[in-house]
């Protein structure tokens, strides 16, 4: 039944640019300061104050636009978007309407299965953020914190190119990856420096015309975007099947109840009365600035992934996972400078280290694991001073205690036993205690040796050199 319908999704991402000062005044953009401590007459919209464009915010915007393969407008102009809300000091927002600073770009998105999809970017424009309302418990009034008011905000809007909640998730992941490579934002959804709204509609498969769109807001993570769009798809299909009319409206995602709830209908929508911002003079975009920024663009995730395959001989999958996050890719390359076996390195980072990041809900930098320390650990395995199995435990210990591998191994006596005599002693002991397995082996059931190896390892607390144990067992079993 679901296949009868096609889902059509367009996403709007709001990105707070990490400039030192706000978009149109000199106030600091530092996060988490006391309410209204980073304000001035301009960002408070005091009578008589005037905006002046922050050059860095503008240049960051161009950088993002170019990284998303957008065209840059010849003339840069700003507009006023008029609406009343107490968190908006002037009751209009300085934004861009009919001439966004850039348009017509794309992001190539790889799905988990490796399929490639091009999501087109309709427009990228610069605007100012609003403040924040605070509703004290049990109070009859609300408070406003204007620290966020006037922060530079980049709006990145896709064409309705996305056809499933999973694709939306993959697009957001790819976009965030690119944005982090550009070092223009911390892209932290929890802090609100990256926000996402969606427009979603359904239509019968093969239909050309778009269905009635519903705007979904209040999704605070990529996962919630996926969940909310999944819910909305099902809701809309159920309505279509029941021959009910889908209405154009704005709905909010309720992350507790896992449903979307109607917020306002099209009839209640604002008339924003856009018009050119007379306090900011339109200017002609200097082509040289565009070229300079284009030349200075860093290597982006896709390029870097290709290079990892070529330069380090990694699988496409490993390369893609490593380059998905700039910090992780940087970490890999830092380690790779001091370590020969790149494939092993990639396995460790994408395996045990990724598991630790997930378990602790942090990025690679949050683990505080120095590249040199990881390399030391890997070299200890290669030099047979510890087993791979022990190394996994040592790794966890390193992250927990911030101690180096060598210190942990020696203080806990975890060094691999490569002493022939000690291993032989353990082997003989195990053979004497496991007569049945010995007989099985001698009777032709060669797999019984695995059990015996396991017993020796258990007895040596995992420290025995597995290859030596294997050889020694075979020798005593008469081979």
């Amino acid at each position: 039944m679901t296949n009868k319908y096609e889902t059509v999704i367009g996403l709007e991402v709001h990105l707070q640019l990490e400039t030192d000062t706000k978009a149109f005044c000199g106030c600091s953009t530092e996060f988490g300061r006391p309410p209204n401590s980073h304000t001035c007459p301009v960002c408070l919209g005091f009578p008589g104050s005037l905006p002046v464009l922050n050059e860095k915010a503008f240049l960051y915007s161009i950088k993002v636009a170019l990284a998303l393969s957008c065209k840059i407008q010849d003339i840069i102009k700003f507009d006023r978007k008029n609406y009343y809300y107490p968190d908006l000091p002037k009751n209009f927002q300085i934004s861009q309407f009919d001439m966004p600073l850039s348009y017509d770009g794309f992001v190539d998105v790889l799905s988990g299965s490796g399929a490639k999809k091009r999501v087109h970017i309709k427009r990228v424009h610069l605007e100012e953020d609003a403040g924040k309302l605070i509703h004290p418990v049990k109070a009859s009034n609300s408070l406003v914190d204007f620290n966020r008011a006037g922060m530079p905000l980049l709006e990145i809007v896709t064409e309705p190119d996305i056809n499933s909640p999973e694709e939306a998730y993959d697009y957001l992941t790819a976009l965030k990856s690119i944005l982090q490579y550009l070092r223009v934002s911390d892209c932290d959804m929890e802090k609100g420096s990256l926000r996402c709204d969606a427009n979603i509609s359904i239509r019968r498969a093969g239909e050309k015309e778009l269905g009635v769109k519903v705007e979904v807001k209040n999704m605070n993570s990529f996962r919630w975007v996926r969940e909310a769009l999944g819910f909305e798809t099902k809701r809309q299909i159920a309505m279509a099947e029941a021959k009910e009319r889908i209405v154009q409206e704005t709905r909010l995602w309720d992350a507790q109840k896992l449903v979307t709830i109607s917020m306002r209908s099209k009839e209640e929508a604002h008339d924003y009365r856009y018009f050119p911002e007379p306090d900011l003079v339109p200017f002609i975009m200097d082509k040289k600035i565009i070229e300079d920024i284009r030349k200075a663009l860093p290597e982006l995730p896709e390029e870097r992934s290709n290079r990892f395959v070529k330069e380090y001989g990694l699988s496409e999958y490993d390369a893609r996972v490593l380059t998905g996050q700039i910090d992780l890719a940087d970490y890999f390359e830092e380690c790779a400078r001091g370590y020969e076996n790149k494939k092993t390195l990639a396995n460790w980072i994408n395996g045990d280290i990724a598991a630790q990041m997930n378990a602790r809900n942090v990025g690679i930098l949050g683990l505080s694991l120095k590249p040199g320390d990881l390399v030391e650990l890997l070299k200890m395995i290669d030099g047979q001073s510890i087993s791979g199995k022990i190394a996994k435990e040592v790794l966890v210990e390193m992250i927990d205690t911030k101690n180096r591998a060598g210190e942990i191994v020696s203080s806990k006596g975890l060094s691999q036993i490569s002493d022939k005599g000690a291993i032989e002693e353990a082997v003989l002991d195990v053979l004497s205690k496991n007569e049945r397995s010995v007989n099985d082996y001698k009777g032709g059931k060669k797999t019984a040796i695995t059990f015996l190896v396991g017993q020796v390892m258990k007895q040596t607390k995992g420290k025995a050199n597995p290859a030596m144990v294997n050889d020694m067992l075979k020798k005593h079993l008469g081979e």
């Binding site: 009578p47 002046v52 000091p89 009751n91 008339d271 900011l280």
Partner: protein
Amino acid sequence: MENLYSLTAHELKEKIDKDGLAPSDVLDSLFKRIESLDKKIKAFVTLNKNAASLLPKDKTGKLYGIPVLVKDNICVKGEATTCASRILESFKPPYDATVIKRLKSEGAALIGKANMDEFAFGSSCETSCYGPTRNPWNTDRIPGGSSGGSAAAVASDQTILALGSDTGGSIRQPASLCGVVGLKPTYGRVSRYGLIAFASSLDQIGPITKDVRDAALVMNVISGYDEMDSTCVDMPVPDYTKSLVKDVKGLRVGVPKEYFIEGIDKEVEASVRRSIDILRDLGAKIVEITLPHTQYAVSTYYIVAPAEASSNLARFDGVQYGFRALDAKDLIDMYIKTRSKGFGNEAKRRILLGTYCLSTGYYDAYYLKAQKIRTKIKEDFDNAFKLCDLIVTPTTPTPAFKIGEKTKDPLSMYLSDIFTISANLAGLPAISIPCGFSKDSLPIGLHMLAKPFDEETLFRAAYAFEQNTDHHKRKPSL
């Protein structure tokens, strides 16, 4: 001994610099005058009697000790700045407008704030929440507006200098009706930072003074680039007093045929035509020019200006500062009650007009079309200035009208700015200087316009005219 209050800034400056006149004596003389007179004129909304104590120790400032009255829409740090509106009652800005900073750093004595039409919406000073200011030449008449308090105070010797703001004629029209000098600089010549915006693309701050030289002195201080105002142009500021030469020989003076319209007061027309003859006699070359889109100027202005105003005034909502209605039951109710009680009728009229013009479905027909005509009006001037260096017109179609005469008829009120509006739409500098009097002893103004950033030509022509006439010396009997 002559009364200090009756002197010009340049006369006082000489006495302070050379004769050791104490600025406090000047201020005392003024404050006595204000005390006895302003009950009648009502030019002041606040009076700063501490002005003398706030003067800097350094006496070398270009306006050291010279009293200046500031229109109440220009922010002065810590001083009530209300735009003559209830909605800004008790608002004290935490910062100085750029022009105020510059005046202070040149040692000017800020003696108070001047009455005005509410938010500069008006041509008669009658829309003020404090009540009307009266014309010193006849107190039954309006002083003009919106900078009516500034012009009336200068004309009645209650201040030496004044600042006004001009969006469609708000400096020049009251200057004309009060018989003083009023200059609207080129758009971008003077910083607007700290001027509470009416229409951002039209507003300029400028001087209202007793003579042309004083206007040049003020312009020397307030002009020039300001990084706080993106529309302020980074161009060197000449010493405008150097343009004060009594010579207009060879100057090409354009007279637009469209400006001597039907309905223009006969005495005004006669005075202006006589003034043109004087300029010719002084050696100027008079040429007839055409400004064909003049007839659309008022309509264009009354779309562009209210549209911008509706957005600029949106911030007055009772949330952060100014008046807030306290009996509101929710947010929307607070907005409605605050703005309904806080704004006067003319402000409401313009907010509604502007909101309508910008609404979906009307934007193209009104705002966009008005912007196109605005471009045509600019082109008219570009073409005219190929033929002349200066354009001369009447400042206003009539001398000062009676208080209450036009308050019931907004359209006829709007038409009193018919000659001044084009300069704002085109961003040009323009000056009004006294050029005669009606039989009823009401002043008549001569309006001069020049190319963008050519204030020097304005000063040159205005000064030559002034020095060869004595209209500016005549004072109202009070």
